[in-house]
Amino acid sequence: MTAAIDIASWILLTTGGLAVLVGGIGALRMPDLYTRMHAASVTDSLGAILVLVGLMLQGGLTLVTAKLAAILLFLVLTSPTSSNALASAALLAGTRPMGDRHGPDSGDTP
């Protein structure tokens, strides 16, 4: 039983780590702000959820798991909100998404 839980949590932690890595590479390699945010959100959502659930399996039914669950809830609420705020702030500041044909400076973003 313990071995099964361990294996499950290792799988979750490894895939979570991979998701964080993919998010990091994406944030560096994507061409403009919005696609970069899209890549980085993999770290926030999938990576964080997988790693935290993996850690919860390691913690078992203890206070640690409850604390990890609280962190997970906090992340699930805040990271989409901050992404949304960042994207609309960028849009307000005049950064157009790449390939947007209606903007004043289409495709020409720093």
Binding site: F74, L77, T78, T81, A85, S88
Partner: protein
């Protein structure tokens, strides 16, 4: 494994520090400094210094970044070209760095059991705390009781810094155009998503601050960390609902009272010890049972620290925000 992780984090820290120096855009520099603080906090955590790590994360990465950003809003976000020669500055830095590097060669090895840190008063603190103070977190006992003078000094440093900023910026309202005034007072009220999530989270942030404050005797935490967290919750409220609403919740006068009141509470506990026949900041005499007296004293002075830190941080934030741009 821990050493490997530490070296990795310290390398990242050096890279971040170089990036801060090289950044021409001050906004980028502020963000990088937040990352540097977070890296230092993780390093502290690796060294098992959870209390310091919590402080660094809350103050360095959290509140300082917000205060730097509000300061940036008052000025430009581009670095001016240096007027003096860079060569001299680099020479001084290199020499000072080499001297510090040379000094580290004389230090005992990391974790050396014979180093002064492990043989001086440290063992006494660890051995006597269960008997004298009887709280699980020895750091809080050292900070609040054994080294109470130092912490009193720190509280007055925070208090003085707050007074300095308020003298420079003035805490009164600056006259501005009506449009500007409305924008400031509106905050982000029109922007629904952050507002709803913020309203959901702010009570829990403040509750967590109180937990850190009063759980400091049992786990990592205490007045400094709690003050920063509660101030962060209130700053979030001010950003979302506007300055005016935040100042209705805690008016400026109350903030100034908190700044002075916390430091005053701390000092009063010290003087109460004197009046009851002990030394200054000797809590043992506060109760018939010296152990209960110690605990009462620590809880009271931690409350004083928390009140002063919250008041000062919020007063500084409002002073910056009131200037507008």
């Amino acid at each position: 494994m821990t050493e490997l992780f530490g070296i990795f984090l310290l390398t990242l820290l050096v890279i971040t520090a170089v990036a801060v120096v090289r950044a021409q855009n001050l906004f980028v520099a502020v963000m990088l400094m937040g990352i540097a603080s977070l890296l230092i906090a993780v390093n502290f955590f690796l060294l098992d210094a959870a209390d310091v790590a919590l402080t660094e994360a809350a103050v360095g990465a959290g509140i300082s970044t917000v205060l730097f950003l509000s300061a940036l809003a008052l000025t430009v976000d581009r670095e001016k070209a240096p007027k003096t020669k860079v060569g001299l500055a680099i020479a001084v830095t290199v020499v000072a760095g080499l001297v510090i590097f040379y000094a580290t060669l004389g230090e005992p090895r990391f974790g050396d059991p014979n180093s002064p840190v492990q043989t001086h008063v440290g063992p006494w603190y660890l051995e006597k705390t269960p008997e004298l103070v009887d709280i699980p977190n020895v750091v809080t006992a050292v900070l609040g009781s054994y080294r109470g003078y130092d912490t009193l000094g720190e509280v007055f440093v925070v208090f003085t810094a707050g007074i300095g900023v308020l003298f420079l910026l003035g805490h009164g309202r600056v006259r501005r155009s009506l449009e500007e005034e409305t924008r400031q007072n509106e905050g982000l009220r029109h922007y629904l998503i952050p507002r709803v999530i913020g309203q959901l989270l702010i009570p829990f942030i403040i509750l967590f601050g109180l937990y850190v404050q009063f759980h400091g005797e049992y786990g990592p935490g205490g007045g400094f960390q709690a003050g920063a967290i509660i101030a962060a919750g209130m700053i979030l409220y001010a950003l979302l609902e506007g300055e005016k609403h935040a100042l209705t919740v805690i008016p400026q006068k109350v903030l100034l009272g908190m700044m002075a009141g916390g430091a005053l509470l701390y000092t009063t506990v010290g003087i109460a010890g004197m009046l009851m026949g002990g030394n200054f900041l000797d809590y043992s005499v506060l109760n018939d049972n010296p152990v209960i007296g110690q605990q009462t004293g620590i809880i009271l002075i931690e409350a004083g620290v928390g009140i002063t830190v919250t008041g000062t941080l919020l007063a500084i934030f409002h002073a910056f925000a009131a200037r507008g741009d």
